[in-house]
Symmetry: C2
Subunit: 290 residues, 2 copies
């Protein structure tokens, strides 16, 4: 595929950094520019060979051919505000935000008649670690990336972003409705993160439970792994997907209370049924090899 | 250490089978007898070399030097009822139950003046798989085993059970209060299992969420892994530790509702604080290498 002359990454953390490393390893970019609010991270990213040069967002707007906004979702509007007026007609902007409806709403407002240049994307990959030191070139290998293309996007621009992610080893899926994307990820990603964090917070809130942390086994380890993720990133995800999250929480409470009632009533038969449904559902899940 | 002439395993599944395999590999048992309610499992365990002979529980009572009850917690009373009247004075009985207060209460009633022969134990190890085919000789390597010795137990009997588990590669901890054990494991093991199962059941209860299962990533995979565990075993654990579970559930609801309120109010500052507490707690957890 066509080589990109200058790639710009705004937010050189786990996701942005890994994307840059993957494309560099494939020899698909000539030069990577990095921008962001944290000078330490930018310096580190340069020292680690993730980016070749540190620039301002305004400089990047005029220098890069493809710009990927990989900052926390809440920073998107401020970044877009700097980019939009300076963006040349052939420059493509994409993002990696975990929620899409809110981002697209902001993008439409800010990019206005340049909205066709913005391709919304969401790589489904993460780590308990964050920052440029956590970046690795194979983070996206065999992972899903969702693109929620806009009616205004040219098929060439969408194909370009798709091919970049595919070069990172990812499988790209296109979802036309951003709301579908957000409902799906509220359920399958944001809600588990919330539960794991809620559980860790609950463990910390009581001295006996806090002591019990030392007795955790492999089940505890895996169940709580995601709770270590970046608080800033997850706060922004929860806020930007607030409506879907609250709706999932209401449904989950029904399930929680149903189990509580079965346990209060010592209803062995129904408890078995309920646990069997859960166990079968998990045993049948084959998306990623276990 | 001293070799055991005849080891009896009641319930030749993941835990009982792995225990037998580990001791066999170490050359610490001459012969392993297997008993249980499921003839298929017993036949399989024999074919796999986990046990050498299938016997009835009554036969085992008179033939074995050490008997380990590795059946689901709910089956304990029925098994103990068969063993107790037949048990010779030098035979040691132990168990692997995930809750201890209830088991000990039953054991005191059933074993009566032979209660000193019963050493309550709990290996902290598991797998998403169950049954004899899931048994592996290194399941307990670097895992914790808790023994909650009774005042009536001789120090020699406790030391024997402790050394057997240590031979399997486990680290043994003694906890004098069974209630402490149950509170600790309600928080650190049973409650996470309940949450993971509750989440899978919630995902199954709605067609859009059910479809969303196909979009899960590694976070989803790890968070839900434990939900695939044996419904029968977990039902028995929840029922036998009902009081501690219900008390944990009430505390968890407070945490859940606190977060919900923060999200409803879009309180970015407090959400960040709350997520930071959870993330730090998980990042600082070093019991098992991550």
């Amino acid at each position: 595929m066509k080589k990109i002359k200058t790639l710009g990454i705004i937010g050189v953390g786990l996701i942005g950094g890994s994307f840059a490393l993957a494309l560099k390893r494939q020899g698909l970019v000539e030069k990577v520019l990095g921008a962001g609010k944290d000078d330490n991270s930018l310096g580190l990213a340069k020292a680690l060979g993730i980016i070749d040069e540190v620039v301002t967002i305004a400089e990047m707007a005029t220098l890069a051919d493809v710009i990927v906004i990989a900052a926390p979702v809440n920073a998107f509007e401020g970044i877009a505000n700097v980019l939009a007026p300076l963006l040349p007609a052939n420059t493509i902007v994409s993002d990696v935000g975990s929620t899409k409806a809110k981002i697209i709403e902001i993008a439409r407002k800010v990019f206005d008649n340049k909205i066709h240049q913005f391709i919304p994307a969401h790589p489904i990959a993460g780590s308990h670690a964050s920052g440029p030191t956590a970046a690795i070139s194979d983070l996206f290998q065999d992972k899903n990336v969702i693109i929620t293309p806009l009616p205004e996007n040219s098929s060439e621009s969408v194909a370009l972003i798709q091919s970049l992610w595919e070069s990172c080893g990812a499988t790209v899926q296109l979802l036309k409705q951003a709301k579908d994307h957000d409902d799906i990820y509220a359920a399958v990603s944001h809600f588990p993160h919330f539960l794991a964090a809620c559980y860790m917070s609950f463990m910390e809130s009581d001295p006996i439970r806090k002591q019990a942390l030392n007795m955790g086994g492999t089940g505890f380890r895996d169940f709580t792994r995601i709770a270590a993720g970046s608080p800033e990133m997850w706060r922004d995800i929860f806020l930007s997907n607030q409506e879907a999250m609250l709706s999932q929480m209401r449904d989950f409470e029904k399930e929680f209370n149903y189990f509580k009632q079965l346990l209060e009533n010592k209803d062995a038969e129904q408890l078995y049924q309920w646990l069997s449904v859960a166990a079968k559902a998990r045993q049948n899940w084959k998306v990623i090899k276990n």
